[in-house]
Symmetry: C2
Subunit: 410 residues, 2 copies
Amino acid sequence: MVAINENYLKLKAGYLFPEIARRVNTFSQANPDAPIIRLGIGDVTEPLPQACRDAIIKATEKMGQRESFRGYGPEQGYGWLREKIATHDFQARGCDIDASEIFISDGSKCDTGNILDIFGNTNTIAVTDPVYPVYVDTNVMAGHTGAANEKGEYGGLVYLPITAANDFTATIPSQKVDLIYLCFPNNPTGAVATKEHLQAWVDYANSHGSIIFFDAAYEAFITDPTIPHSIYEIPGARTCAIEFRSFSKNAGFTGTRCALSVVPKTLEVKASTGEKIQLWSLWSRRQATKFNGVSYIIQRGAEAVYSPEGQEQTRGLVNFYMENASLIREKLSLAGFAVYGGENAPYVWLKTPNDLSSWEFFDKLLTTCHVVGTPGSGFGAAGEGYFRISAFNSRENVETALARIVKAFG
Amino acid sequence: MVAINENYLKLKAGYLFPEIARRVNTFSQANPDAPIIRLGIGDVTEPLPQACRDAIIKATEKMGQRESFRGYGPEQGYGWLREKIATHDFQARGCDIDASEIFISDGSKCDTGNILDIFGNTNTIAVTDPVYPVYVDTNVMAGHTGAANEKGEYGGLVYLPITAANDFTATIPSQKVDLIYLCFPNNPTGAVATKEHLQAWVDYANSHGSIIFFDAAYEAFITDPTIPHSIYEIPGARTCAIEFRSFSKNAGFTGTRCALSVVPKTLEVKASTGEKIQLWSLWSRRQATKFNGVSYIIQRGAEAVYSPEGQEQTRGLVNFYMENASLIREKLSLAGFAVYGGENAPYVWLKTPNDLSSWEFFDKLLTTCHVVGTPGSGFGAAGEGYFRISAFNSRENVETALARIVKAFG
């Protein structure tokens, strides 16, 4: 008899964002005239930068001539894109990262899930709480957890609460953990980590033989010059950290799809035989066997992010969303909400009023203000009573949404 | 201590195609003037169809206006693409497949690897020998096999030899197997399966509770009107088969990346509790959690395959490659080779002369004719002594390569 992966049966309800979509659809079918504004899912709304579009169109035209047609590319991505990323995003910040350590992919969601393929099943895994649900769900699916309890916490995972009390940066655990997921600037809380905080994690990982999965998808939104953009700005990270980055948020690629992972060649783990194994070679093999690279056309679009025009246009996009974030912080504070984040990240994290649960506040915001946000409890048990507002929308929509919220709650 | 996935250490040498690339690079570095012609990796060479390019450019321009900008799309693909596929590729052939059963992806290599995520670890797995290496390697990586023997066969897998004696279509096994990989038109042998042969597999699978993974990446190359293009042309397939398809070969998307899997909602497997589980819901969950959909721009390009112009242009491409295949068959036969395939598939499968091993013939062909092919043994132990020649190249290159081969071997 065929055996299915029964770990899937442990997964709680729907993945957060499909559940939000379901509730919004139900409401809008019942209220077809309600002018809904979406500040929920962290999806960008502004046009793809001109430089990227021009590059995509040029590459598409090149696909029309035999001489410049491109078939299968390198599974790890084209050298010209990996070189630009290494130079601009890492070496320019003093990070000792080589182009060959960069793997181009079609998304950080894919990468943070797929990376588990190269690890075994006996690792102790630490996640923050709240957390980006994909880290947890992919571990559940891989059989690295027990069942969920009534709060949605899975047995076997080590949850590191991030709360206002610790500035939404997890306390280094006293117990030993093997794989640690860190996301800074943080989704969902918008918090950032100082050099000292990251150094403490790197020191912990190196002394315990742990690996850090560092999700830097939002690094472009950092405004404070003292905050690191990459884990590799921290001495010692090359022997304990894998980093994930994306063009989704800085260059508006959520629907265009391009991202990258960084696996330093110095990252080694002992096999049970005692042999040292380079994670880079396992990840290379994984990608060559289960992936066929990102569309040539799209990689050319991503490359254009590093042109002078692309740099200016992406900076413009980031600044635009950060002005939204600033407005959200200001108006929600005025309306009496306790707000966090939004200064180095496109997310504002708020405490729900009147002890409403996260989903109660979601429904109230939807039905009274026609505004969609994301319930904090969808990110973990410790997110209960919190709520995420995203800065990804037009200025007009953000202002309208804020005016409705201030009117309803202020 | 961090545990790695030690199953990776069982993998033999490099994946086939990187190994070919390595040998070709070594040769061409030593012989920079040698005019190498590549008939090895099954990569298309002719321009992307005009209809697809036009659609990609139009979609890219739309990404430049806020109103028509697209961010995250449905992880399973846009409805307009899924509908067209369901109508043209399935319903038009009498297959009862609904658009909601189609999942758009970035490649069949990815899909055939990722599908294992939703299955357990106790299944008996059958592959043909020779076989597309990804089926085997992804099972090794998932821990579904033992170690490899000296012939490269992995313990625990059931190998079904395909040889001239059985027309390169595997004999239905006498033992019980749970998951069965079938690829028709076949990569690497170019063989096809009749309705009767597929019916025998479907009957076997339904009576044993097995699942067939049917890889139809080359269906567009079928010229014989009696040969099925889809497993769903066979009564009973909706309760036992998953199909994989790709735009790589018919529309030249190897570097553009778009493919699809079909998981009928009627496909159910019993969990250990006895509960019936719909594989469609597991695969939906898998894709929603570990994948973010194919680029909007690229999906528009794939959609254009179904326009009248796109249909005509892709038919033109397929016919062009099949004329190459015809030439290859003809000239190699004249040169005294025993040849198979190439009539309903873009691959010709030949017996090496003088009892040369597959890699010996590879090296000889490279060094004497400067032609790259694919060693049959790279596809499995029973492929030893065979060799694959691909029809994917320009007419001029194919003719030049054949002239050299006829001169050297004829």
